[in-house]
């Protein structure tokens, strides 16, 4: 019962803030709405017993990636963006997209067979997970066990992205001004 209440609160929150991202004129408002949406989805992860991923979502996604976004928006000083729903063709596009989106959602909802159970693969029910040492420990064992190679490659990927970002965002120093 409380799970249902929590689900509806978090779901409605996530969807309304997501709409805020897409519909707001001010880019900072969009960014903050996205932060809230990510936090609501982190709450949904916690409801799905994925505690580690929930904590990581808030720390990394909402707390670092979105800070990067917010900063770029602030420092590029874009002001009020006038492109929300402008000329008539924009409205038609938005309406068509909206209808397609609704069609997609209805299709998924019908095919998801609300109420069916899916056969389990590893028997890791929440009770078993708690007995085996907790969600974080098991995820850690998976990351350092079967998924070790992707883990190391993710590390290399982050270094590559770091170097690439610094190279691309650096301001070109005019060689003449150095003298």
């Amino acid at each position: 019962m409380s799970a249902a209440i929590a689900f509806w609160i978090l779901a409605i929150g996530a969807v309304s803030t997501a709409l805020g991202v897409v519909l707001m004129r001010n880019p900072i408002t969009s960014a903050l709405n996205l932060v809230l949406s990510l936090c609501f989805v982190a709450g949904l992860y916690a409801l799905l017993e994925a505690h580690f991923v929930a904590a990581i979502q808030v720390t990394v996604y909402a707390g670092a990636i979105m800070v990067l976004f917010t900063f770029v928006i602030m420092l590029l000083d874009l002001g009020q963006v006038q492109d929300r729903i402008g000329p008539p063709e924009g409205l038609v596009k938005a309406a068509v997209m909206g209808l397609l989106g609704i069609a997609f959602v209805v299709m998924v909802a019908k095919s998801a067979h609300l109420g069916i159970t899916i056969p389990s693969t590893s028997g890791l029910t929440p009770a078993n997970v708690a007995r085996a040492g907790g969600n974080t420990r098991l995820v850690g064992e998976l990351l350092f066990g079967p998924y070790l190679l992707p883990f190391e490659i993710a590390g290399v990927l982050l270094v590559v992205a770091l170097v690439g970002t610094v190279v691309m965002a650096k301001r070109e120093v005019d060689p003449r001004r150095r003298k």
Binding site: A11, V15, K93, M97, G115, I118, T121, L143
Partner: protein, 101 residues
């Protein structure tokens, strides 16, 4: 009514559709980028929901890697947007038409 796999998938589809609408309708590169992140987030939600209802943790590990990749992608993407802004003084994609065929 306990939330079921179908509920989570429907929610994920809704978030994905909202994100896709944002990508196709908005004209500001940064907001398009944020809508892409929303879509990524929606797919992560579907992964975690499946992980929970199939009683395995592989979906959560995949989401962990997805977040890492999202971080890398955001960093590089924003660097590109900054570089474009510096040379063209705009992030409106209607005005960034040099590669248009």
């Amino acid at each position: 009514m306990t939330p079921d796999l179908g509920h989570y998938l429907t929610l994920s589809a809704m978030l994905f559709a909202i994100g896709a609408t944002g990508v196709l309708v908005r004209r500001n590169a940064l907001i398009i980028f944020m809508s892409v992140e929303l879509m990524l987030n929606a797919s992560h939600l579907a992964l975690v929901a499946f992980s929970r209802f199939r009683e395995s943790l592989d979906g959560q590990v995949l989401v962990f890697f997805g977040m890492t990749v999202a971080a890398a992608e955001v960093a590089v993407g924003l660097a590109i947007i900054i570089a474009v802004y510096r040379s063209r003084k705009t992030v409106n994609i209607d005005e960034l038409r040099q590669l248009h065929g």
